[in-house]
């Protein structure tokens, strides 16, 4: 199945980059990875693009158009990011702002519920997040990224999309063995989707 892996982390050599690369391999030959930092993605929605968004028209920015095309062809979407201030980092939030646009992710109608999912091609959404904080700290401070992936995404994908959540807490305190074990766990979970 066609899969799209979206990586949002500045360190292109670090643990998350390795994880995203291994995840892409585990998803099979039809998987594509978008390394947003390496691609130089601009997360700030410009004034003209915002104007188009309000008018219910899709983006024109060439990178956003290309990413939107990959998104509308994908059956599995996997997000890989590190938690910042209780939710996704700005880079990934900007990617959602710019690429999850009208006619790409949803269509607007006059009748209730007004917003209709357009990414009905997406069967599964997977979130892979690393946290500096412990599991309990994350529970206390709130996990906006998880809510974005497992709840907000449903406005775009529909209610039948399956979501799965693969977190690694207290990243700084994990041993290399624990990290390797986590990578194996991710590969195993994603291998079933290929």
């Amino acid at each position: 199945m066609t899969s799209l892996v979206v990586l949002a982390h500045p360190d292109s050599e670090g643990f998350l980059a390795t994880l995203a690369a291994r995840a892409t391999v585990a998803l099979g030959p039809a998987a594509q990875m978008l390394d947003l930092y390496r691609l130089g993605f601009d997360p700030t929605m410009s004034r003209p693009e915002h104007r188009r968004y309000l008018d219910g028209r899709p983006p024109t920015d060439p990178i956003a158009v290309e990413h939107a095309r990959a998104l509308t062809a994908a059956e599995n979407v996997v997000f890989v990011y590190s938690n910042e201030w209780g939710t996704v980092p700005a880079m990934l939030k900007g990617w959602l702002d710019c690429v999850f646009a009208p006619d790409v992710a949803f269509t607007l109608t006059d009748r209730w519920p007004h917003v209709r999912p357009a990414l009905t091609n997406v069967r599964t959404v997977t979130g892979i997040a690393s946290y500096d904080a412990s599991r309990w700290r994350v529970r206390f401070v709130g996990d906006g990224g998880r809510r974005t992936m497992t709840r907000a995404m449903r406005l775009a994908c529909g209610w039948r999309t399956r979501t799965r959540w693969l977190p690694i807490y207290s990243l700084d305190r994990t041993t290399p063995d624990e990290r390797a074990e986590f990578v194996r766990h991710v590969e195993e979970r994603l291998g079933g989707l290929r």
Binding site: P43, R47, P113, F140, G142, G144, A152
Partner: protein
């Protein structure tokens, strides 16, 4: 329990952080109304227009802009965030402002000087949709950011819903309520 405590009045030093691509937007009107309300109370007000100054939300490292923003953040006792809600959270430029300005070397910055957080936002969809989406923006400020502010810091959340189809009168009512913030 917190709700039984008297609400602290808007402070004397307010930092207004505004993030919207369009200077003629409703969000800009909300910012102007809030700034006017603060000034009427005699507060010193500083406004940061993130789109206007071309804030870079993703760079790694420290630059003079960042230091200036951190100085303002340590100076204020009321922080007012004015933004449109996109995908139930802050626009990337404002999320990047949290990621960069509030994170110092060695982790999150402590700002015990901030005693009041005010969020003024707009939603394309309704209250229920935002609830089902997880109210990510509200939790990011009310929980994650508030955890490094003053221990008794209070959050005020004002949202204008159904921007896709509400009337001029609805918006005017929202703006009028800001006078009594």
């Amino acid at each position: 329990m917190r709700h039984l405590l008297p609400r602290p009045p808007l402070g004397t030093k307010a930092l207004v952080v505004y993030a919207h691509p369009d200077p003629t937007s409703f969000t800009a009107a909300a910012r102007d109304r809030a700034v006017a309300a603060l000034e009427r109370r005699g507060a010193a007000v500083e406004v940061l227009d993130l789109y206007g100054e071309g804030f870079d939300p993703i760079s790694v490292g420290v630059d003079p802009t960042l230091l200036h923003h951190r100085r303002l953040l340590r100076w204020c006792n009321t922080l007012v965030l004015v933004y449109p809600t996109w995908w139930s959270a802050q626009p990337a430029i404002l999320k990047g402002w949290f990621d960069r300005v509030w994170t110092v070397e060695g982790g999150p910055m402590r700002v015990p000087n901030v005693r009041r957080l005010v969020i003024l936002t707009s939603h394309g969809s309704g209250w229920l949709t935002n609830l089902l989406e997880g109210r990510v923006g509200k939790r990011t400020v009310g929980r994650a950011l508030r955890s490094v502010c003053h221990p008794l810091a209070r959050t005020t959340w004002r949202a204008c819903y159904h921007m896709d189809r509400n009337s001029f009168a609805d918006r005017e009512r929202f703006l009028a309520r800001l006078d009594a913030l």
